[in-house]
Every structure is written in C-alpha cells, then in structure tokens.
Symmetry: C2
Subunit: 267 residues, 2 copies
DNA sequence: CATGATGTATCAAATAATAATACGTTGTAG
DNA sequence: CTACAACGTATTATTATTTGATACATCATG
C-alpha cells in the first residue's frame, strides 16, 4: 500500500494501526472478513494482526459471533491524551463554569489537518448522540470553531486554508461555497466569534470563539451549541456571546519557556 | 518479554502498542531514551516503532525537543469506542438529564478486569482534573461503582472478586481491608446503591447505582461525585439517591437477539 | 446434501525487522 | 576551551519474523 520503503518504518505496526482505524461511526464491530474488505489487507495478515490486538487487549472479540470491536483500552488512550494536552487542563474548569452559566452544551475544539476535533464536550441538553461524544471530526471550514480559528490567522495563511482545506456536506444546509465561507470568516474577524446554522446537525446553531496563543493566533476554540428551535440571533448575541468570548479570552496559553511558541498540534 | 511464541502473534505490533501504552498520567511526553527506559525495548526498536507511529499520525513529535506525545488520533479512537458501545448511547441522554436534575458531576463507569473505567463524565462543578476526564482507571474495589456492580453478583462470584481484585491506595483514606469492603458491598446489596468517602480523591463522596442487564447482573454503574464539604449523608440520601437509582434502573440493556446475554466487556 | 462463506490452523520461503555500530549534535564539567 | 557524556539519527549485515498460500473446520443456505 502506502508503505514508505524506509528502514525506519515498521510495516507490521502500520498495518495493525490500519486495523484500529477501520473502526468508526459506521463500522462499530467487524468480522475477520469485513476487516479484510475494509482494510484491503491480506486475510492471513488480518488474522494475525487482529489476533495480536485481541491478545493485547486492544480489541474485544465476541465469543459467539467472532466479531471484533474496540475495547476500553481505547478510552485509556484518550485519558493519556487528556493528560498530555496542557490546553485541556487549562480550559476544563473555565468551560465547566461557562456550561453552568449559560446552561447549554459547550465544547473544546482543536484544529488538526483542516479538521476540527472535539476534545471534550459538556452536554447540557439531550442532543444528537454525535454531538455529545468526544473525538468527533468535522471539516474545519464547515464549523464555527474552524472559522473562528481561521479568523485569527494572517491573510495569506487564511487564504491558503480557504483554498486547500476540505469541505463536504454533513447536512442539507451545509455551505460548500468557499467564497461564502470566506465571507463568514471575515465576519468572524470583525466580531471576534463565528456563528453557523445547521452546518453539522439540522437546526443546530453553533457559536465559537478562538483561543489565541501569545502571538494572537489560534488553533483551538470554545464552541457552544444550541437548538435553533429555542434560540434566535438576538438572544444568542445577548446571552451567549459575551460569556463565550470571555471564556475563550481568559484561556491564556503559556509560550513554552525558552522556545518560541511552537505548537505540535496545529496545521 | 512476554511474547507468545505464537505464529498468530505479531511481535512488532505488540511492541508498538507497548509504546502507546507508555504514555499515561505521569508520562505525558517522552524522548526516545525515556521511551527506551520505560518500555524496556531496544533503542533501535523504539526508534523505528516511534517513528512509524509518528508517520502514521499516532504520535506528535516536537521539532525542537524531539519528544513524542499522544496525538488527537487517540481521541478519534475514543470516538470509535463510543459508537461501538451500545450502553453509551443508551445511557448518555439519561445521564444528561440526571446531571441537570441534581446539578452535580455524574459518570458512566464500566468494569474491566477488576478495575473501573469512567466511560464518560458530565462534570458540573470544578473539581480535580482527574475527576473530569474520561478513561480514568481505578481499582474497582475502591470505588462506589465497583461495589455497586459487585452487589448484583451471585455470592460465589462476589467472593472471588473480593479475594482476587486488586486494591491499592489512591488517598490516605483508601480502605484496603477486604473484609471491610465486603461489608460495604453487603450494604450495597441491601440498599441498591453504594457510597464511598474520599476513596479516589480527598473529600470526595461518590454514590453509585448498578446498571443491571436482563439477568439482573451489572457490569456498569451510574456514579455521582459530590464534595464532602458541601454534602452530608442525609441530604445525599434525600436529594441524590432517588434520582440516581431511578436513572440507573431506567437503563435497560437489551439482550442480544438470538443469543443469551453475553457481554464482551466483562470478566 | 451440496455449496459457499467464514473462521482457524500450518508451514516453507523470503521479506522485513533486528541490534550492533557509527556519526552528528548538544550540553556539562573539568 | 576542551573532553566527555547523553542523546537523536543513520547505516548495514544477519537472522528471525512475518508472510500468504494452502488446507481444514464450521456454519448457514438453498
């Protein structure tokens, strides 16, 4: 496949990871042959690799159906991530306060390769399941968080992102026109926050404010999601935006002592 | 090491996983040589494996310090887990309601190999960071959730667990005496819930109710954590316990069509 | 009962991972 | 200012490990 024929590259490990990545929202548990189909790997390889993952506790295996699925070890990995990302510890208490304040769902979003990943979420109302769990991934250009982040970038980087980042539809209302998205980002530059209607879920309004680093540039955002059936633009501007932007602005990312602010996560 | 000399076992993959597991609460980012020390693997192996994990996007690498740390891919794995565990979708909306009701932190806890893993958490008050992030792992016998779960087991299995499961201290107040823990479990059998004081965090009171499957046996629990400085036993019994047990009882795990209720996760 | 799909087990062949070694850089101590 | 130690990186011959073809077992279907 895409194996670098590099001597510093362990193909078997990469194949194993490919099996881990085969599980997602749509494929929550898979048989051996389904894994073969989805990964494109050899049957024998999948057999050995999946078995290894099973023996190592990274996959559960149903004794009856023989199907594999993710194990709780996957959550322990998330836990290790949470400890490793300084922004999480920094933002968590403030987002908890914000969540209590406005009584609506708030999220911490991070940028990763043109996509937004929700790092943690504090749901306050029943909502679509997808909107309540961490680790969800969306094209950044289609999210309030992505646009809020972009609004802090210099014009050149912004233009590149607006040209290169992916866009695909999540709901019928998803905006795919890059010029229109560019205008939304311009709005965010002026306002200090971004707002979207039904981009990820129908009738969901998202409001996001960027979390700037010492240089003023953002790679993360605080996002609030509310129901379009219960909130209109005026009430959002009055009751949510101030608290949201305050929260985002109060999160001060320390530039690493000795080094310029190099962030491992962004871009 | 502990390699099964099995032909269905891929050693390189297992070593790669060992590197992933090296990251935890205490070691959030590691250099090459730190990884060598922590994993016990050969320097060259770690070099190749870590490099592979980096190329595959499972580790970030700081360009300046050359240190590795978990990537956002670890959260995407958590996301796949959430989709794969039917209990999560079942419990999430009810826990959100519960969280609003009582205004305190509620968790979904799962049993895994004598330990409790917090599957998701809905924090409502600032608290110790460790208590706000998913994927945390604690010895089941030391947690309200673990005891609530055990209280639903038949006496024989319960006795085995009380004998075999690990116990180690998380706070100075942690109870390590297995006879005393057995009495706490007996209390839970009578009451339908379990309550602990300062077992995981100082001054934290935890209350947990078991989530029973069709046979009446539990491998998961709803847990609520409150501050011992603000809550006493009476108020907890009056204001939290009813809502908590109601919530837990309202979560009905469907036995899989055609199969007896075989759960891949437990024991 | 035959057929096809799937999970499991085995084994010879050779590819792909190994670990020793050497090199370049950085930071510290003498 | 030099020497040394610690670390990350690169290279290579050797060999062990992974490979994938094959065969067998089990189960569901018509």
């Amino acid at each position: 496949m895409d194996n670098s024929p590099n001597t510093l590259f362990v193909g078997s490990l990469a194949k194993g990871l490919k099996i881990l990545r085969a599980f997602d929202m749509n494929e929550t548990e898979m048989s051996l042959s389904e894994l073969v189909r989805k990964t494109g790997l050899d049957k024998s390889s999948v057999q050995r690799l999946a078995n290894t993952l099973y023996l190592e506790g990274f996959l559960y295996k149903d004794g009856v159906t023989r199907r594999f699925k993710p194990s709780l070890a996957w959550l322990e990995m998330a836990n290790a991530y949470y400890w490793s990302d300084p922004l999480v510890a920094l933002a968590m208490p403030k987002l908890i306060d914000l969540s209590r304040d406005i009584g609506e769902t708030v999220n911490l979003a991070r940028l990763s390769d043109g996509h937004i990943i929700y790092v943690f979420r504090l749901p306050n109302t029943r909502s679509r399941f997808a909107a309540t769990i961490a680790g969800s991934k969306l094209p950044a250009l289609g999210t309030a968080s992505g646009r809020a982040i972009l609004s802090t970038w210099d014009p050149a980087s912004r233009a590149n992102a607006l040209r290169d980042w992916p866009t695909y539809a999540a709901t019928p209302a998803t905006i795919l026109d890059r010029d229109q998205i560019a205008r939304e980002v311009e709005d965010a530059v002026r306002n200090g926050y971004s707002i979207t209607h039904g981009q990820a879920l129908v009738n969901e309004i998202s409001i996001a404010a960027p979390i700037r680093d010492a240089s003023g540039r953002a790679t993360a955002a605080v996002q609030c999601s509310v129901s379009g059936l219960q909130w209109d633009h005026d009430r959002i501007t009055a009751n949510i935006v101030p608290a949201l932007t305050n929260t985002a602005n109060s999160i001060l990312i320390p530039s690493r002592a000795g080094y310029p602010n190099a962030d491992m996560n962004d871009q």
